[in-house]
Amino acid sequence: MIAMIARIRPDIWTVVLLLTLTVIAVLLVWPLAGIFTASLTDNNSGEPTLANYARVLGHPFFQGALINSLIVGAGGMLGAALLGIPLAVLTTRYVIVGRDLLATLAVLALVSPPFIGAYAWIMMLGQNGFLRAPLADIGISLPPIYGFFGILLVFSLKFYPFVFLLTASSLRTINPSVEEAAEGLGAGAWHRFFRVTLPLVFPAVSAGALLTFVLSIADFGTPSIVGGRVRVLATTAYNLFTSEMTGNPGLASATSVLLIVVSLVVVALQRWSVGRRNVAGAMIRRPMPTRLGPIASVVAHAVCYAIVLASSLPSLVVIYTSFRKTSGPVFQPGFGLDSYARILREVPQVISNSAIYSLIAVTLIVILGTLIGYILARRQTIMAGFLDGVLLVPYVVPGVVMGLAFVVTFNVRPLEITGTATIIVLMLFIRRLPYAVRASASILRQIKGSIEEAAVSLGAAPGHAFFKVTLPLMLPGIVAGALMSFITAINELSSSLILYVGRTMTMPVRIYLSVLDGEFGTAAALSTILLVTTGLAIYAVFWVSGRNENAFV
C-alpha cells in the first residue's frame, strides 16, 4: 500500500524531535562548525584565510602524513580481509571444532582497545621483546616493530573480526542450491567460489573492509604508541594542537578537516556498497558445514586457531604482565599483585572516573537513543531521514577531531566546560549515541507497526501503547545497544586524551600515559581491568541477544 507519511503532530514525538535537534546542534554541528571555522582562520590575526589549507596540502610534512594515513588504512583493510575472509569461509563451510569459541575470542579482540594491542606487541616483538629472540633462533627475523610493520600488524589482528563476522553471516545466508546449480552447470570448485559465492558475499566483505579502513585512519593510540617515525593525520593533528611550543589550532583544524574528508569518502563508499547489498533470496535450505579429510582438517584448524590466537595474544600478554612482580616500574622474577596494589594506591580515581563517566553517558544514550530510534523506524518524515544521515557523522569523525572540536568550541561562556567531567561525558554521549539509535531502530523494524496500532485501536493512548506494547518488545535490543555503547565508551582513548585534566583522567588515558612512561606493570593492571569489564559486557550481550556475534558489527 501507500507509504504512510505521518504528519508532525504536537505529541511526545515532536518534543523528542526538538530535543534531538537541539542536542545535535549543540554537540555536533556547533563543534564541527567551530573546527571548520578555525581551519579557515589565521591564528594570530583572526582574519579568514586559506593559508592553513595551502600548507596542509602543499607541505611535504603534511602530504607525508596523508599518504601514511592512506597506507595505514589500505594496509589495515587488506590485512583484515586476508585474515577475516579465510576464517569466515573455513568456519561456515567446514566442520571446525570450537567454532563458537573462535567467534567469541574474535569478538573479544575486536572490542578491546587497539592501543592495548599495540603495547602488548611491543612487549612481544620490541627490541627486547620476549618473542623476538626465540623467533630469531628458529630463523624468523622480523622488521622492527616501530613503524608500518607494527601499525599494520595491530590493525590487521584487531579489525579482522569485522570482515570475519560480516562475511560469515553473509555466507550463512547463501542458499546452497545456488552453488549446487553452478556445480550442475559444470563449474569447478574454484570457478564456483570466484564466480558465484564471492560475488554473493562481496557486499558484506566490502562493507567490513571499508569499515576497517575508516577505523584504521581514525585510530590515534596505535600509531602514537607503535608508529615510531610514521606520522599519520590523526597523530599530526593531535601533536599540532597539544605541543606547547608550536601549538597551532589553525593547522590542527585544517588537518582534522582533511581527515574528516578522507573518512567521509570511505564511509560514503561503504554505505554505497551496503546499499547495494542484495536481499537474501528464499532460504529453502540452510548450508550445512561439510567434513574435511584428516589432513585438510588439521590444516583448516591450524589456520583458524592461528589467526584467532594471534589476535588474542595481546590480551593474554597484558593479563600475564599484570600479575608479574614489580618493583617500581621494573619487573622482577615471579608473580604478585604489586601492579594492582599500585594502581589502587596511586590512581584509584581513574577507575571510578571511567566507570562513572561511561555509566552516565550510557544512561543518557539509552534514553535518547531509544526515542530517536523510534522516530527513525516509525516516522518516515523528512526529519527522520535527516536524523538518519546526521547520526552517521559521529561514525565518520575520528575521536581526535571530535576532541579538538569540543576544545575549540566549549571554552567560552555560557558553555565554558573544558576541563570538567561534563565535557568528557558529553563527548562519550555524542560519539556513542548512534550505537543505541541503530540498535533500537533495527529491533523496531522487526516489530510490526500494526502491533502498536492495534493497541491504540483497543483504546490505549499513543504513549501508553508505546510503553505497554512496543517498549517491552524492544528491551533486548535496547540492552544490547546499551552494552555496546558502554564497551566503546569505557575504552575511548583519543578524544578523552584531548579533553582530560588531572582529575578527570580515565583508564585508557592513564594506560596510554603509562605506556609512554614505560610503566608497563601499571598499564597492564589497568588494561586487565578494562578487558575483564569488556569481557563481562560481551558475555551479557550474548546473553540478551541469544549469541549473535553480529551485534558487534
Binding site: 500500500m1 507519511i5 496500532e453 483497543l458 501503547a465
Partner: protein, 362 residues
C-alpha cells in the same frame, strides 16, 4: 452497531491522489467490502476511518457524529490486521483482555468476557498459550476475539485472510461471516481478492486509483459492472475493444448486423462478455437475439467439472469460452472451427473513451 458516513473524503500524497472525493454510506449492521488492486486506496480509506490517517478534506461520521478530530484510541473501533498484530509478549488471554484493561473494567468482568470471546472464536482452552505456540489461523482468531471483545461500534478488517493458506482462508472466511451476522456488527472489510469479496459481502465498493467505480451487492457488481474496470477486475471477461458502430447504432461485428438504439450516435464501442455466457455451436442454443461469429479452437483446458476453450476469431481476437460439465460430452480438438454466439442479454457495452457502462437493454 453503527452507520458510517464518508463525505467527500480526499487525501493526497506528493504526486499521488490516494483518495479522490470518496462519498459513501455503510449501513448499520452491514458487511461492507472495499475491493480493488493494491494501491487503489482501500487501506488508506480504512485507516482514515480508524483514525490512523488524517484526510485532507471531507468528513467521517459515525451515527451522524463527526469523528475527524477524535484520536484513534477514543473511537471504539475494532481493527483486525493482515499480519494479525498479536502482542507477542502476552498470553492469548492478556491479548484479548488488553482493550478491556485500558477501559478499566473490573477484573471479574474481564475474565468473563475474555472466556466468552475465546469460545466465540472456538479457542476455548487456549487462554494461557503464548502467540508463537499458535498457528496463523489461530492467531487471527485471537485478533478477531480481541477486536470483538470491546464491543466496538465498527469492526475494520484489513486483508485478514491474505496470510493464510487456501483451506484455512475459506474456513475462517465463513466463520467471520457467521460471527458478524450473529453479532450484527457493522463491518468494513478490505481485500484485493474478488472472489472473497463476492462470497462474504452484503455490498462491495470497487475502487481504483483512489476513486470509487461502483458500489453494489455482489450480484450487481458481477452482472451489471458499472465500468470496464469493474467488469475486468471481477471475474473473467472477454473484452472486445473498438468495435465500429454504424449509423443509428448498427453494430458492425460478427455476422448479422445488430441494431442497438442505445449505441446511436457513437462511432465505436467496447464490448464485453463473460466466458460462461459465450455459447458454442452444438451446445445450448441462444434464446433471444445474439451476435454470431466463428472461431478456431487453439487451446482446450480441462479442469474436471469445467473446461475452457480458447478461440481465435477473425485472425486476432481471442475469446475464452467456458464449458460446464465437460465430462458429459466429447471435447472438440485444437484446430476445429466452431460457431460462437454472444446473447445480447448477456453482452456488456462500455464507452470506448471513459469505460462507463452503456445499458443496451432499454
Amino acid at each position: 452497531m453503527a452507520r458510517v458516513d464518508l463525505q467527500h473524503i480526499g487525501k493526497s500524497y506528493p504526486g499521488l491522489k490516494a483518495l479522490d472525493d470518496i462519498d459513501l454510506v455503510v449501513n448499520s449492521g452491514e458487511f461492507f467490502t472495499l475491493l480493488g488492486p493494491s494501491g487503489c486506496g482501500k487501506t488508506t480509506l480504512l485507516r482514515t476511518i480508524a483514525g490512523f490517517n488524517r484526510h485532507d478534506s471531507g468528513q467521517v461520521l459515525i451515527d451522524g457524529r463527526r469523528i475527524d478530530n477524535m484520536p484513534a484510541h477514543r473511537r471504539n473501533i475494532g481493527m483486525v490486521y493482515q499480519d494479525y498484530a498479536i502482542f507477542p509478549h502476552m498470553t492469548v488471554a492478556d491479548n484479548i483482555a488488553f482493550g478491556l484493561v485500558t477501559r478499566h473494567r473490573p477484573r471479574r468482568e474481564i475474565a468473563e468476557r475474555v472466556t466468552r470471546a475465546l469460545d466465540l472464536v472456538q479457542l476455548g482452552g487456549h487462554a494461557d498459550r503464548m502467540p508463537h505456540e499458535l498457528s496463523g489461523g489461530q492467531q487471527q482468531r485471537v485478533a478477531l476475539a480481541r477486536a470483538m471483545v470491546i464491543n466496538p461500534q465498527i469492526l475494520l478488517m484489513d486483508e485478514p485472510l491474505s496470510n493464510l493458506d487456501a483451506k484455512l482462508r475459506v474456513e475462517l472466511r465463513d466463520d467471520i461471516r457467521d460471527l458478524q451476522r450473529s453479532l450484527g456488527i457493522t463491518t468494513i472489510y478490505v481485500t484485493h481478492d474478488q472472489e472473497e469479496a463476492l462470497v462474504i459481502s452484503d455490498r462491495i465498493c470497487v475502487m481504483q486509483s483512489g476513486r470509487v467505480h461502483q458500489i453494489g451487492s455482489p450480484h450487481e457488481v458481477y452482472s451489471r459492472p458499472a465500468t470496464l474496470f469493474v467488469a475486468s477486475f471481477i471475474g473473467a471477461m472477454n473484452v472486445i475493444p473498438d468495435v465500429p458502430v454504424g449509423t443509428g447504432g448498427t453494430l458492425q461485428f460478427g455476422t448479422g448486423l445488430q441494431l442497438l438504439p442505445a449505441l446511436a450516435g457513437r462511432t465505436s464501442v467496447t464490448l464485453a462478455i463473460r466466458p460462461e455466457n459465450v455459447i458454442l455451436s452444438g451446445r445450448d442454443a441462444a434464446d433471444g437475439p445474439a451476435i454470431a461469429l466463428e472461431g478456431d479452437v487453439n487451446k482446450v483446458t480441462f479442469a474436471g467439472r469445467e473446461a475452457f476453450y480458447r478461440l481465435t476469431c477473425g485472425g486476432t481476437l481471442q475469446i475464452l469460452a467456458h464449458v460446464y460439465r465437460p465430462d458429459q460430452r466429447q471435447l472438440e480438438g485444437v484446430g476445429t472451427r466452431l460457431g460462437l454466439a454472444f446473447p445480447l442479454a448477456r453482452l456488456h457495452a462500455f464507452d470506448a473513451a471513459d469505460g462507463r457502462r452503456i445499458d443496451l437493454a432499454p
